[in-house]
Structure formats: structure tokens, C-alpha cells
Amino acid sequence: MEDGVKIKNISITAVPEHPDQALVSLMTEHGPCGHSICDVAVSEAAADLARRLLFGEDARAVTALYAHMHSQDNKPAAAIATLDMALWDAKAKGEGVPLWRSLGGDGRSAYLISDDHSGHAARITLTDDAANDLDAIAAAHKALSRRLVEPVIMVMAPENWTADIAIARMQEIEQHFDISYIEAPCSAEDIEGQLKVSAAVRAGVAEGRSFSGRQQFAPHLKARSLDMFLLNIHEIGITGAIEMADAAFTYELPILITGSAGNVGVHLAGAMPYFAFAEKSVVPSCLTTSVHCDNGIAKPDHTIGNGLGLHT
């Protein structure tokens, strides 16, 4: 191995004005430094994991190191995802290209989904107040109909719903509005419930925001219980997201990349065969990003690596 790319250190820097967030920097001997953003608690687990498993490894072995980290007992998934993101950043920098190009994508723009009507698609969190929910959907519908011919509205069920509650509420909503997806209509593991909801309502069932590995997606793949995969790169990592996007392509299920620090998830759009939407995250003013959001569309620029860092 060329010594220059050996992982030798990790540092954690507090994100100014966001005490719960940290910038994780993975350093190689003479090669590039990879950056990632995560919760402070996750950053500490990531530093511990890096010291145990990554120091001395070739930073370019991204997918193999992801599998290696996931082969451990009691694996801290979010910490693995953090290190995976930093490794991909270092890899792209080593190649002298933006992350999207390192992944084989073409830096295409992504339609954003957001809960503030600023995207091309809207996400609405449902409540126990049906009338209020209808008003919220109506407002989103009105805002979106100026942008896309067919508004894309995704609703998110409250945590305590069962399949039967979701069906009753969705059937009521669908008398008034066309809803594209319902996220988490019942518990994430309830495959029978998801199949029941998908059969009874017109909207597609979306799930996966909390999934951190292929083991959680596997039963859903076998049962074809989902109509959309939600991939959270802060849980499953970039490597895991690429793997599961390919797995979802078995059925050509659309992919939604959930909110990510600096909207870095948008880099993955062109490297996923069935990418549909990216969820918009608000970027703190102290954070640098190479993803630019404008008029409901996000596009990564040509900055080398993932573009994440802190303004000095």
C-alpha cells in the first residue's frame, strides 16, 4: 500500500451555533482529508470506531471498509455511516473530482421534497386532527400546482398509527386529494400492514428512514412490501444507500434520499438508476456545501469532494 493514503487520525470539530452537530475529519498520512457531519454523540462513537478499525487502512477501500465495519458485533450504524461519508469524500478528493463524479453520477439536478412548499414535492406530517391535515394538504397542493403539472404530495403518518388507522385516514384524504406516497403508515417491520395499506389506498407506501443496513430492507425486498425506498445516508451510509438503491431497482422502486447535512445526499442522484427525490435540509450558515438549492431544485457544483466543511 502507498503510505500516503493510510488513515492515521480523526478529529471532531464543534459546529458553531449548533452544539448538537460536529464536523468529523478523517485524516490520511499525506493524502486528502475526508469530512462528514453528524450528531455530537455519533461523532464520538465514530472516533472510537475509526481508532479500532480504520487506522492503518487504505482510505480508498471504501466499500470494503463499510462491509468490514458492518461485520462487527454491536455496530453503531450511524457512526459507520459518518465514517463512510468521510471516506467517500477522501476518495473523491484523491481522484480530484466531486463526490457525484466519483460515484459515477453526472451531477444532475434533483427535485426537492420539503415541508415548507419550497420544493417540487411536498411532505406533510399528518396529525390526529383530520380537518387540519386536509387544510395543510390543500395549502401544499395549491403551492405545488404552480410548479409541476401533477403535484407530488407525500404524507407522513404519526408514529402510533396502525395499518387500519392509516387506511381509514388515507381513504378519507384521497376523496379530496391525489397523494403520491404515505411514509410509515404502520410500524417499519409490519410487512403485512404495509401490504394491506398499499392494497387499500392509492398512495404508495414508503419506508426506510430509520434503516441502517440491508438486513432491515431484506424482508421488504422479499415481500415487495414497499412502493418507495427512503434512504438515509446518515444511517445507512453512502455505500449502503448505493447498494440498496440497486436492490430497489430489482422492482424499479423509486428512491427518496432523506435530509442530509448540507444536502450532500443530492450527490448520489445521478448514480442511482431510479432516483426520484431528495428531501431538503436547511444548511446552517457556518457550514459549507457544494449543493445549491433554487426554486425547488438542488444541484451540486464542481467542488472537489463532498463540499462539506466549516466557513473560516
Binding site: 487502512e57 487504505d58 480508498r60 477501500a61 471504501v62 466499500t63 470494503a64 471498509l65 463499510y66 462491509a67 468490514h68 476518495k91 484523491g94 481522484e95 473530482v97 463524479r101 460515484l103 459515477g104 453520477g105 453526472d106 451531477g107 444532475r108 440491508r214 430492507f217 431484506a218 425486498l221 422479499k222 415487495r224 455505500t239 448505493i242 447498494e243 440498496m244 440497486d246 436492490a247 431497482f249 430489482t250 422492482y251 424499479e252 445521478g270 448514480a271 438508476p273
Partner: protein, 392 residues
């Protein structure tokens, strides 16, 4: 950085030895080859090896674009073929372009492809596969012994037409491999010659004598009912998919629990398609095995897959016009650090092959044998250079 052109060289090669299976028991030694080179405005070329010859029809989908955006190009080419039919030669052409683009992307990064794809080491566990139907018992032993001397501990025998012969030759393969291990891994491959029920009858009798790791293509490539039926009826795993071309053709096998191992190759719509299938199989909890190829160039991809078990090596001698940077040792394909696939072309040898095509035994495109799937047409004396069993 732009893609500016391509060069496709087709040629006929005569291998150093014959290969054969239940559909071609008499063996062949002629094989068509194709070398695709994708050219750029900076002079760097991407190279792939395969059969895709419909490149010109697909080239406009990538011309003028940055070669490093290879997955996006795969998506565009896949969409491009929406109505033209992304199967058969169209899919092979897509795969040839995609693989050449990955070679190019790795060369531009100055890395071997295994490293660009994120592998930790350029090392892939291998199994020996003689494609050995037309090898004499002596040559069969010699092949697997030669492989065992390189540390290989598993082998795959071509079977399907002569039960006693299959048993005897499995024993020969096992004995040859025992040089490397006390417990060789034994696989068999009937290349879709049997029906599913014929496969169950035949394999069950073999399993009375031998413990098999997997049986390959014991039913038709698309027959997920049949493959699943075999998998449930025998002890060994069922491997299949080598004759499918994309994830979407493999979908029924995954969704119906029909294959325990997927055989994948560059013919599964390139490096991108191959990796897609491996990732999908990973999601379903199914391992993959890379098929044999010229110069073992797909070992680069196998090295980087999370669920790869072992790669097939045949080593029939089909690299006369190629240079490559890998070797078999300690039971593994060990890949060097030459950028890309590490494959080069000996232009003078290629030119000679094209100008004066070699003569030999050929039967391209390898048709299916009489009786396949319905009844077994026995071998006749002289079909193969080994002793046939006597009729009961």
C-alpha cells in the same frame, strides 16, 4: 474530458485446449473475440473484452460526454434501448461500453479498477472449471491437479449425459483437487440440458456418493418454478443466471427464492449491471459468483463486491493477443496495480489473427443439444475421449 470515438476489433481465436459441456460434448477450440476501445480527447482509452458488436447504434448516447460519469451513462443507455430491446446483442453492447468506461475511469484515477471500486485488496478466491466435457480422464485429472497446485480447492465438472461417467469423473476431479485440501468443494453444471425433474433424479443419485456445493443451471434460465423445485429437492445449492442479461431478467429468480447463488459476468450489462445484480442479491441475502472471462478481467469487480464467494477460472489459453496483470496463486486470483483492468493489446498478434483467422473446431454460437429438457440422447462412441458407461 470527452468521449470522442470508439474502435471495435473482432477476431477469431484458437484456444490452447478444447472446451465443452452437455450441449457440446465433442468440444470446440475456436472462440470469437471482441475488443472494444473507447477513445477520449485526452488520448486515454478505455478497453473491454466481450461479444458486443452493436456499439455503433449505442455510441450516440455517450458521445461527447465525460467518461467518468459512467453510472449515469449506463442509465442513459438503458433508457436509450427502451424500445429497441435491451436484451441480447443490445444488452451485450451496452455492457461492453459500460465496462470500457469503467476501465477508462480507473485509468484516469491512476488506479486498478478493484481499488477504484473500493476493494481492500486485489485478491479473489477462485474455483477451477474445466469446461471439461471433451477432456479425457487423464487430461481432466491433469487440469484439476494443475489448479490444485496453485492452491485451488474447489472445482466444477460438466455433466449430464452419462451418469456412470459423471460419477467416475467427479471422483477424478476430487482426487486431483485433494492435492490442495482434504475436502475439495465439488460443483456440477449441466447447462440446462435437463428438465427440472430430470435434474432432481440425476442429482439425488449423485448426492448418494458426493457432497456437492452447488449445481448450475439444473433448469432453464427463466424457470423460477423449476429452479426452486430443484433447490428444495436436493441438498446442494442451485446456481443460475449466467445466460440472463440484466437485473430485470434476474428479478423473478430473486423474488421467488429460485437461486441460491447467482452467476454474474460483464455480460450482465457491464460492470454497472453486474454490480447492480450483486447489490440486489445482497439485499435478498443471496451470494454471487463471477463467471470466467478472458484474462480474468472481471476479478477486479468481484474483489469489490460485498457478497462474492468465488470466481470461476477456466484457463483454456485465450489471451494470445492480450497482456494482463493478474495471476493465480494460493487459491486466489491476485491482481496487480496496473490501472484499469490492467489489460493491454498485442496489436501485431491481433492483426495476424484478423488477417489469417485460425482454423479448428468451432460451433459458435453454441446451440442447445438434441433432446434437451425432454430426454437424454446418449453419447456415441467417439463423441468424447473417455470411456462411456455400458447400457444396462
Amino acid at each position: 474530458m470527452k468521449i470522442t470515438g470508439f474502435r471495435l476489433d473482432t477476431y477469431m481465436m484458437r484456444m490452447d485446449r478444447e472446451v465443452g459441456d452437455a450441449n457440446l460434448p465433442e468440444g470446440v477450440d475456436l472462440m470469437p473475440g471482441a475488443i472494444l476501445r473507447i477513445e477520449t480527447d485526452e488520448g486515454v482509452e478505455g478497453l473491454s473484452l466481450g461479444f458486443g458488436t452493436g456499439i455503433a447504434d449505442l455510441f450516440p448516447a455517450i458521445e461527447g460526454r465525460d467518461p467518468r460519469d459512467v453510472v449515469a451513462h449506463w442509465i442513459r443507455m438503458n433508457d436509450w434501448l427502451h424500445k429497441a430491446g435491451n436484451e441480447g446483442m443490445a444488452s451485450l453492447s451496452l455492457g461492453a461500453i459500460d465496462s470500457a468506461l469503467w476501465d477508462l475511469k480507473a485509468k484516469l484515477a491512476g488506479q486498478p479498477l478493484w481499488r477504484l471500486l473500493g476493494a481492500r485488496e486485489g485478491r479473489v478466491k477462485a474455483y477451477a472449471s474445466g469446461l471439461d466435457y471433451s477432456l479425457s480422464d487423464e487430461d481432466l485429472f491433469a487440469f484439476y491437479r494443475r489448479m490444485a497446485e496453485k492452491g485451488i480447492t474447489a472445482g466444477k465438472l460438466k455433466v449430464g449425459l452419462d451418469f456412470e461417467g459423471d460419477l467416475r469423473r467427479l471422483g477424478i476431479m476430487r482426487e486431483a483437487l485433494s492435492f490442495a485440501t482434504d475436502r475439495p468443494g465439488l460443483m456440477i453444471d449441466s447447462n440446462e440440458y435437463w428438465s427440472a425433474k430430470q435434474a432432481i433424479r440425476w442429482i439425488s443419485r449423485i448426492e448418494e456418493k458426493f457432497d456437492l456445493v452447488w449445481v448450475e443451471e439444473p433448469a432453464r434460465r427463466w424457470d423460477y418454478h423449476g429452479l426452486r423445485q430443484v433447490s428444495r429437492a436436493i441438498k446442494a445449492d442451485v446456481a443460475s443466471a449466467e445466460n440472463l442479461k440484466s437485473l430485470h431478467q434476474i428479478y423473478p429468480l430473486l423474488a421467488n427464492d429460485a437461486a441460491d447463488v447467482l452467476n454474474i459476468s460483464a455480460n450482465h450489462s457491464g460492470v454497472t449491471g453486474c454490480r447492480q445484480i450483486a447489490h440486489a442479491a445482497h439485499g435478498f441475502g443471496v451470494p454471487v459468483s463471477m463467471m470466467n472471462c478472458q484474462a480474468n478481467f472481471m476479478a477486479h469487480v468481484a474483489a469489490a463486491l460485498p457478497n462474492h464467494n468465488m470466481m470461476e477460472i477456466v484457463d483454456p489459453g485465450r489471451e494470445h493477443c492480450l497482456t494482463f496483470d493478474n495471476r493465480v496463486e494460493d487459491g486466489h486470483i491476485v491482481i496487480g496495480d496496473t490501472p484499469g483492468f490492467g489489460v493491454g493489446v498485442l496489436e501485431d498478434v491481433l492483426a495476424r489473427l484478423q488477417a489469417d483467422p485460425p482454423q479448428g473446431k468451432g460451433k459458435f454460437p453454441f446451440p442447445r443439444r438434441e433432446g434437451a429438457g425432454r430426454f437424454i440422447v446418449p453419447l456415441k462412441q467417439g463423441d468424447v475421449p473417455w470411456e462411456l458407461s455400458k447400457p444396462n
